[in-house]
Amino acid sequence: MDKVLNTPISENDVRQLHAGDVFYVTGQIFTARDEAHQMMLEHGEPFPVEGLPLFHCGPVVRKSGDQWELLAGGPTTSVRMEQFEADFLKRFRSRVIIGKGGMGEKTLAALSEVGAVYTHFTGGAGALAAQAVTKVEGVHWLEELGIPEAVWVLQVERFGPLVVTMDAHGRSLHAELAAEVAENMKRIKAQIVG
């Protein structure tokens, strides 16, 4: 049975999650990339985001009549947001980050402090993500930031699979794997030279 979390997601919900867990989200999520992070830190949140998953994504969208439709929306590389994320989490308490590639130590520390998790959604799986979006509820700063960088508010149903790769207990699968790969690389290099 797949685990599904409904939004808003509470601090208690995320403190029970551990690195390696897989879950899906139902409810409201919002996108923010580099420029939207900067915008929110400068001007405040365009709508209340506490407990709503923050999705690192610049989608492909199309407008028919008054309604936007999201056609593809996989994650973008999260580490670009590392410089903003700790402040962002402390201020807006989003609780779940959805991205790819993992993030750095500053974010990892903020996850424990605030009570939040970083989850990995399959990079490039833009169509799968779009299938889980039942409605585009709105968009903020579209004029100022353009389609990929704007804040898109999405209604989702069983959005995932999301793998917890950085939890609120200080564990980062990215850091653990990096150590393992470094060991393997020593052996591989010896093999090449030998």
Binding site: K100, H120, L128
Partner: protein, 286 residues
Amino acid sequence: MNAAIVEGLTKAIGRAATDLPNDVVRALEAARDREEGPARVQLEAILKNVEVARDGAVPICQDTGTLTYFVKFGVRFPLLGELMEALTEAARAGTEAVPLRPNTVHPFTGANPGDNTGAHIPAVTWEPVDGDAAEVYVLPKGGGSENCSALKMLTPGAGLKGITEAVVEHVVSREGKPCPPTVIGVGIGGGADVAMKLGKRALLRSVGSRHPEPKVAEMEERLETLINASGMGPMGLGGKTTVLAVHIEYAHRHPASLPVGIAVQCWADRRAAVRIGADGQVSHLG
């Protein structure tokens, strides 16, 4: 403007964006079958995504890439002028029809014309060949994987071992950033520009194909084995499959130079090709 050529190319762009080639799908299925844990979760999501995109004719990935064409044109192909225009026009038409994400930004002003065209874009490589027909290979190249491409100017003394080490080390060091399992194109020799171009051209080959020369084929296989032994795995979350394939192309090198171009392609190794006859008839090549 030749409407039939524009239409044929626009369809090929659409096919590339929404329908992953079967050789890539087969390689992804084989990878899923040997993985477990988070790696298997990633590959299952990838394969489901491929199916959703194909069934719904929607882009596989929201990054629909920089449109890149490789054109082999017969020296007696009579529609070269029409084809040149059609390559740009199809980028515009495809942006509307598929749709594609507008992915061309002016490096100085930041302006985005919104139609996937701009200075030198779509990127076109022209290759004259014998005959009176043309073949156009469409390669929409994503930004995340392109950011992981690299050029290494090695010393000739580093030799084949040096090439092996440089490629393995570089690919593994990019971790999950290029959306592994990736396809790696390696261009060896020529000069800096030639090595990079050969690397990208090697991405046009089917996954599972081997270079016809045994020595080169052997190195392709060895690089795959060594990179996959790193344990980096799908999406850089650990596992046995970091690359689906390594393809090598080479040019003769200067005695003092050993350039190695490493072109990195994400798992969404999107490709399509069409043949345009001397009569302007467009047919699907793959």
